[in-house]
Amino acid sequence: MNLDHIKELLELIADTDVTELEVQDGDEKIRIRRKAAGADDAPPYVVVTSGMASVAPSYQDALQAPTPGGAAAEPAAPADDDLVMVKSPMVGTFYESASPGSPAFVDIGDTVEKGETLCIIEAMKLMNEIEAEVSGVVAKRFVANGEPIEYGQALFGIRPA
């Protein structure tokens, strides 16, 4: 929750007849709605959707109490309502292909079928194939080949077919 942003936006529209404003900047999403001035007393409506604010969180952020579900401070999972996130089910090392030198399982823009292998996570010398949970187009890849991956880390974003 970035109060400064909300405040700036409220100030911005304070003297205007704007009735709806939506701003998206990276992970942070703020939506404000209000009735035209002079109409009835329906309130401006503010919605803040924040994923994880920053990669290296301030202590203040780190100190935020997570709720039992752990929803509060998810690891980097860029919000994009249209994409299905493929998250790592384990700790390990990310590999884009079956062996060094061979082509990547998938590239950005590829169409994948549900069940198709997207990548490999190596954990304790075991190669674990990570499969697509939905069919669609690979819209984003969040990690580099050979990168260490923690549990729950976002790997791909798939736009469902």
Binding site: Y59, A62, L63, Q64, A65, P66, T67, P68, G69, G70, A72, A73, P75, M90, V91, G92, T93, A123, M124, L126, P148, I149, E150, Y151, G152, Q153
Partner: protein, 447 residues
């Protein structure tokens, strides 16, 4: 020395191990579950990574995740803390084959000590006093009578397959032995489909006393004296102190020497705790050995001046006892630890939730080992220990005064804690007089 240690634990013990690593200039890797994202050990470590969901079985107890976390971060050793994987011999073995140093006893020692009957036998053979008993199931009442003559009264008949009090009979005189034997057998058969029973010496008012040891990789084991842990509820320790007012220097020395020899003989190394029951005559009887660092290790640290966790790291890295410990271990003053748990002090119901205010006590003689802070959410998934409040003073009276003072000013809001219960204990005449046993809390709560 290790360059980077992964701490396969959470809470205060993870913070404790990180502190020892920092003191030695070793880099640290914290692992955490999704429920522990804002935990203090995550903040204190040089690196941290999420290894699974809130459920411990899928995170802190997940061996592949932990090993994999060590591999991708380039850690060269793992400290298991207590609980979770600490006494898992298979985990220690996996570390060994993965080329990771396991900071604890060798896996064979963990395995031996995990098998209570084998452990008892090994310790008895090494000359450690064991609670007199038949150990094996009795074949007949005749055997029971013979055994009773060796063991003496009072004695207890226990179901071999049992637990929870069923199939148990305390016998105080020989004329009651036969009927008790038959009743126990019938109850055992009904409860466990196995009528086997065995006999053990019964202690009416046992005290729980344990000895801390450290051993190096070259066969040398040293005892660091005892802790008195009789203040417990349902086998959960609530308060520990060192030294025990019932252990004389002579007894400390004698038992210390005995266990040093015994553990050296079985090839034990690193930290360990040898647990005893003390009978009404002040005799100690071995129960089991805990092959790990324990929750209550700080009271020993306070009276000996030895940093046990740092010693674990040094010993695992190959240090010799003589290079890291003073020539003789002196017991200086008296220390008490109170476990501050997130639980209702009356009902003992766990009390997870947001700590809205956390103001730990400070000042002379006070040590706080904790992973809590204002605005921390105590997750409901793990044990309820929120802080260990430890005091040290020149003698038991001063140490109790300091503990009362520290409890008085310890503020934890938003959740229930065991602070009020600890205050009751510290105000109790029996406790103050040092006259208590493992039934102390039971009696205190029934008043």
């Amino acid at each position: 020395m290790f360059e980077k240690v992964l701490i396969a634990n959470r809470g205060e013990i993870a913070v404790r191990v990180i502190a020892a690593c920092k003191d030695l200039g070793i880099r640290t890797v914290a692992v955490y579950s999704e429920a522990d994202r804002s935990a203090l050990h995550v903040r204190h470590a040089d690196e941290a990574l999420c290894i699974g969901p809130a459920k411990a079985a899928d995170s802190y107890l997940n061996v592949p995740s932990v090993i994999s976390a060590a591999e991708i971060t380039g850690a060269d050793a793992i400290h298991p803390g207590y609980g979770f994987l600490a006494e898992n011999a298979a985990f220690a073995e996996v570390c060994e084959v993965s080329g990771l140093a396991f900071i604890g006893p060798p896996s064979h020692a963990i395995r031996l000590m995990g098998d209570k009957a084998r452990a008892r036998r090994a310790m008895r053979e090494a000359g450690v006093p064991i609670l007199p008993g038949t150990e094996e199931a009795l074949d007949s009442f005749d055997d029971a009578r013979k055994a009773s003559e060796d063991i003496g009264y009072p004695l207890i008949i226990k179901a071999a397959a049992g637990g929870g009090g069923r199939g148990m009979r305390v016998v105080r005189q020989s004329k009651d032995l036969e009927s008790a034997y038959n009743q126990a057998q019938n109850e055992a058969a009904a409860s466990f489909s196995c009528a086997d029973v065995y006999i053990e010496k019964f202690i009416d008012r046992p005290r729980h006393i344990e000895f801390q040891v450290l051993g190096d990789n070259y066969g040398r084991v040293v005892s660091l004296g005892e802790r008195e842990c009789s203040v417990q509820r349902r086998h959960q320790k609530l308060l520990e102190e060192a030294p025990s007012s019932r252990v004389s220097a002579e007894l400390r020395d004698r038992i210390g020497k005995t266990i040093e020899g015994a553990l050296s003989a079985i090839g034990y190394s690193n930290a360990g705790t040898v647990e005893f029951l003390m009978d009404e005559q002040g005799e100690l009887h071995f129960i089991e050995l805990n092959a790990r660092i324990q929750v209550e290790h700080p009271v020993t640290e306070m009276v000996t001046g030895v940093d046990l966790v740092k010693s674990q790291l040094l010993l695992a890295a190959g240090a010799r006892i003589e290079d890291i410990l003073p020539e003789t271990i002196e017991i200086k003053g008296h220390a008490i630890e109170c476990r501050i748990n997130a639980e209702n002090p009356d009902t003992f119901a766990p009390s997870a939730g947001l700590i809205t205010k956390f103001v730990p006590p400070g000042g002379i003689g006070v040590r706080v080992d904790s992973a809590a802070y204002s605005d921390w959410f105590v997750p409901p998934y793990y044990d309820s220990l929120v802080a260990k409040l430890i005091v040290h003073g020149p003698n038991r009276t001063d140490s109790m005064a300091r503990m009362r003072r520290a409890l008085d000013v310890f503020v934890v809001e938003g959740i229930h804690t065991s602070i009020p219960l600890q205050q009751r204990i510290l105000a109790d005449e029996g406790f103050i007089g040092g006259d208590y046993d493992t039934h102390f809390i039971e009696r205190l709560l029934s008043r």
